[in-house]
Structure formats: C-alpha cells, structure tokens
Amino acid sequence: MAAILVYSDHEKLAPELLTAARLLAGGKGTGIKAVAINNAALAQDLAGRGAETCLINDAAILAADTAAVASALCQAAEKLDAAIVLLSSDRRGKELAGRLAQKLGAGSLADVSGLKAEDGKVQCTRNTLGGATVAVQQIETDKAVIALAARSFEAAPQQAGGKVSELAVAATAPSVRLIETRSKASEAVDLQAAEVLVIVGQGVGKEDFPVAEKIAKILGGEIACSKPVATDKKWLPEDRIIGLSGKKCKPQLALIFGVSGQVQFTVGIRDASTVVAVNNDENAFMLQMADYAMVADAKEVLEELNRALG
C-alpha cells in the first residue's frame, strides 16, 4: 500500500495529523511521511514524535502562496509514493486541500473529525447540512486529500525512530506577492467567541470566583454566570450572564458549577459541544443537560481542579 503523507504548517496541528495517520495505517506497514516546508523546527518536532520527516527548504515557496505549496506537496506525494495526504483543517489547510486534490486527481474532504480505512478506501466522519447531521463519506478515488479538524486526534507523543531528511522539489513561479502580515490583537471579552466557558451559579460562593476564573484562564476560556449571580448578587458584571436575558453561546466546552439549570439559563448553552455540570443536588436539572455530570460540592471541585491543572 502506498504511503500516507501528513502536512500542516501549524505546530500544534501537525502532531495530531501524525496520530491520525498512524490510526489509519493501523500497523499495516503503510509508510507515514511527514513534510515540513521551510520550518526546520517543526520538522525536528515531528521527527521527535517518531515521524520520518521530509524538510523542503526553498525560500521561493511561500506559505501564503497556496498554488506554490500545493505544487510542492504534489511533487512530494509523487516522490514519496503517497496516496493519502492528511492536512489540518484550519483556514490554510482547507484552502490547500482543494488545490492539492485537484493537482493529484484526488477526492477531498475538509473538517473531518474521524477516519477509518475500509476495504482500501478511507471513510471520513464530518458534519453536514450546516451541522444538523453527521455524515460518513467515503473517498472513492485511489488518492485522497483529507483536512482534519483541530483536536479530533491527540498529538502524537514523543517516540524514537524518527528522522529528518531533506527533500528537493522544483519551485514554481510565485502566484501571489505577500505585502504584509498583521497578527491579530486579542480583543476584549467576547463570551460568544470563547471556546471554553466556566460558568458559575448561585451554588458557588463569591470567595471561589478567583479560582473559577483561574481555571477558565488555564483552559483558555472565560468566566460567565447565571443571571442572579450578576443581577442580584452583583458578583460579576451583567455582560457575563448566560441565558435568555444574557448571551447565547456555542463554546466547545461549558464547565458549569452550581447552576440549577432552568430553561432561561440553558437556552444560553444549548449549542455547547460539551457540557460538564457540577451540582451537589443529584436531582438538579442541570445534571440531566450535561455530557458529564458530577454530584459534588462546587467549592471542593473547583479547588481540586485548580490544584491539578495549575
């Protein structure tokens, strides 16, 4: 069977692709090759995770030039005899996927969250119909280009056996000129943009808020609250309220402490991907609305979490 090639210019996502490739290969001796372009550190990192890594060093290949990157990867795939290319489904990766697939004559899919080899074909799990359904789609062509959603797979751990070798490809004429790159300044609190929300209700004492806030920061998220916490107790500003009279959010993770779960609250987190609820009342409705429900004292859980994560 031909090799699997993995490529992402994103340092955190590339190691996830490696894990996905290993799962797909399933120990069937399929060779896995990682590619890095103009990024020796990333190549080293991937090699440290046991990957045979090819480093393409050619200043003419700009990461921003999708056509040039696609051309380089197409040549790499041919040289390495790869039939499956795994990319990251960030904005760069998705854009690259279509162009590369067209060059390779491959079927392609992006935003893929699960992979399976089935009768020599790759089956991909992904959302369709605007997120209303989860589809399993099979790539029918001999070649496949698949862009994987972030966090669908764990990063590959450190392991021996990897190495970096250089790979030369023919550069194409640049198709775009990069005038300027501006990094995005992080904005003021925007609960709706937060991927993680730590939400406190009346079951959490004010003295525990700093801990909750710290956990939110560790997880890269924001602290939010039920309505009475802000309007009655005034422990947090009103722009942190989740629910009917507050914000309706779609975080990846909502960690909810001491909220009873009235519908006026839950409409605000209905679209969260994962809900974790902690409540000391086993009959609290919030626990039924959770993916992970913990009957416990909020204060104790907050403190223990803080110790474990901090």
Partner: protein, 379 residues
C-alpha cells in the same frame, strides 16, 4: 385552486423577513419601550419599496400587488407591529388616493409617500365618533377656489410625519361628508402629543387640530359630498394591512409558545409532553392556518376588487376574524408560558398588548359584523 406561492412571492416574503432579522428585530423592544420608530428603520423600509408595495410604478409604487403586500406585512407584523402599522396606514391613505384620486392628485401625493420620504394619513375618527360618519363635526366651508377646514380629529396615525392626509369633513354645500387631501403641517395644522397606547407602539397616534386650514378645491378626493364611499372602500383596503399585521402576531405567538413548550421542563420532561399544552399548541396551529389563508385570499381579492360592497364585506370579515383570533392566540401563548409569560423578558407580553388593539382599529369589531350582515342579508 392553488395554495402555493410563486418564487417572486417567496422572495418578497423572505426579503421582509431578512430585513426584520437583520435590522428590525434588534430594535423591536426599543421601539415598544420608547414608542418611537428610529429614522433608519423608516429609511430601510423605504429602500426596500415597502411603503408603496401595491401601487403602480408610475406613481412611485413597486406594483407588486396586495398579495405580496400581505406577505411582507405579515413578516413585519411578526417582529414589530409599530413599523408595520405605520406602513399599513400609509397604504390606507395612499389607497384612497389611488382609488379615488385624479391623475394629478396621484402624481403629486403618491411618489414621495411610496418611497417613505412622506407618510400618508387617513383622518376620520373624532372625539365624538369613531364609527358613525354622520356624526362627524369637522366642517369644510367653500370660499372661492378653496375650502376652509375647522375641527379636531382623534387617534390619527402618522399625523406627525409630513405627507398627505385624507381628511373627512362635512362640507357646507352638500351637508355630507367629503374627503379632502390636506398637506400635513400646512398653515393651521397642529398636533397633540402622542397618545400613550398599550400596543402597536412606535406607530404614533395623535390628535389633529384644524384651525382655518385652507385647502384648494382641486384637493377634494372623489366627489363633493362623496366622502362615504371613500371612507368605506378606502378603509376596506386598509383592513388588508391590519389583518396582515395581526396575522404576523399570531405567527409570533404560535412560534413562541411552541418553542417554550419544548424548552420548559417539569420533572425533567418538556411541558410539550403534557396534553394540556399540546391542545393549546394545536389551537394555535389551527388559528394560524385559518387566518393565514383568509388573509392571503383577501390580498388576492384586493388586487382585483370589482364590487366595492362585496370587497368591503370580505375585508370586514377577514379583519374581524383574524384580529379576534390574535387576541385569543396571544392569550393562549401567555398561558403556555405561565407566569413567565407575564414578564417583559418574554415576547408574549408584547404580543398580548398588541393583540388587543386589532378589534378596535379601522372600525370596531361590532361594526365590521354589521357590514358583513348588511351585505349578506341584502343580497
């Protein structure tokens, strides 16, 4: 018989709902609270040609017909009744000018109001009467090539905007009601503070005072002494708008109740599992469908109304049925919400306040039934 909408009809419906979602819904609570429609909403509705939707292109309208008018007004009424009523009254005034006006009157008064730069009014009600044209006390006295109007009109929508106002006054020659086109804010025209009304907030109601208002004789709308047909036929077209706004309210009540029934839980089960709630949701569905097709039909009839009395009857029965059902639907929606439905955080409180106005405006429900019975029993 076909009960499907054309692509154009669907697009007009969608256009209105897109505007609502993007621009109107975020301001709906503010409009209700402040009893005022922000100027950008009026401008936005004007850009979409919603002020003159049924009227001819040559007079500045979009010439889309009353069928499309009904579809757009339903969407606006669902989200914010104030702007919807403002358009409805504009089309009531313009409709009277369109049906009874001379080409010169139409060319002079319709285009700006079709674009929403001006807004038309229709002034019949007085402190002494709202249902009986014989009792109006506003007087028009002819002096050479013009009339001089004196009197007070009550509860007049859009009286605080520039534009034409169709005013009913008894003229001294015929001794009968005659319709005049008065330019608002001309010399002798003044208005009261807006009335603080319970619903349809934002669509302002004012009293209008005419003090020696001079109107050129060519501004008589229809015939001298011929105010009665202008009133009955004109207001029949107004009822197309009122019915559509109420229909939108029923839809809002229905959707709010169904949504709440699925979200609110008792002992871990959504209240939608209870039969008592299910029956209410079914009632709302029945009311909406019945009112919907009756109103859509009225829109189609308005496009091609031949016999004024027959059309007046259809308009009266549609308006009465739909507005009465809106009152019931709003009540049912409140019931589904329980006490939460009494809190202003929930939309149904506004719907409940809006609904109650419908049966009173553009002819009280009782008078509508008399129109219907009159036509039925006389034919």
């Amino acid at each position: 018989m076909e009960f499907t909408l054309s692509k154009e009809q669907l697009l007009i419906q969608k256009m209105a709902s897109d505007f609502c979602e993007k621009s109107l819904a975020p301001l709906a609570e503010q409009i209700d609270r402040d009893n005022q429609i922000p100027a950008e909403i009026i401008a936005g509705l004007g850009e979409l040609d919603l002020f003159g939707l049924p009227f001819k292109e040559e007079y500045g309208g979009a010439e889309a017909g009353y069928d499309c008018y009904v579809l757009a007004m339903e969407q606006l009424g669902k989200v914010s009744s104030g702007p919807a009523i403002t358009i409805s009254v504009n089309c009531l005034g313009l409709g009277a000018i369109d049906k009874f006006g001379t080409p010169e009157q139409k060319a002079k008064y319709m285009p700006k109001a079709c674009r929403g730069e001006h807004l038309a009014s229709f002034a019949f009600t007085e402190p002494g009467t709202g249902s009986d044209p014989k009792q109006i006390t506003t007087r028009a006295v002819k002096e050479g090539d013009h009339y001089v109007i004196n009197g007070t009109k009550r509860f007049i929508s859009n009286a605080d905007y520039l534009g034409p106002m169709v005013v009913f006054a008894t003229d001294d020659e015929s001794g009968k009601p005659t319709a005049f086109i008065v330019e608002k804010f001309c010399a002798g025209y003044s208005i009261s503070e807006p009335w603080h009304k319970i619903g349809y907030r934002g669509g302002n109601l004012l009293d209008v005072y005419f003090k020696d208002v001079k109107v050129p004789a060519e501004n008589v709308l229809g015939k001298v002494g011929g105010g009665f047909p202008v009133l009955t036929y004109g207001i029949a077209f107004g009822k197309v708008g009122i019915s559509s706004v109420a229909l939108g309210g029923i839809l809002a009540a229905f959707e709010a109740a169904a949504k709440y029934a699925k979200e609110k839980t008792h002992r871990g089960e959504p209240i939608a599992k209870f039969q008592a709630i299910q029956l209410r949701i079914a009632d709302l569905a029945m009311k909406y469908e019945a009112c919907r097709w009756l109103t859509y039909r009225l829109g189609c009839l308005a496009n091609d109304a031949k016999d004024p009395m027959l059309f007046a009857k259809e308009a009266a029965l549609t308006k009465t049925f739909v507005c009465d059902n809106y009152v019931e639907a709003a009540r049912i929606a409140v019931d589904v919400h329980g006490s939460y439905g009494l809190m202003n955080d929930y939309l149904v409180t506004r719907l409940y306040r809006d609904a109650i106005l419908g049966p009173q405006v553009e002819g009280v429900a009782d008078m509508q039934k008399m129109i219907v019975a009159g036509v039925v029993l006389n034919s």
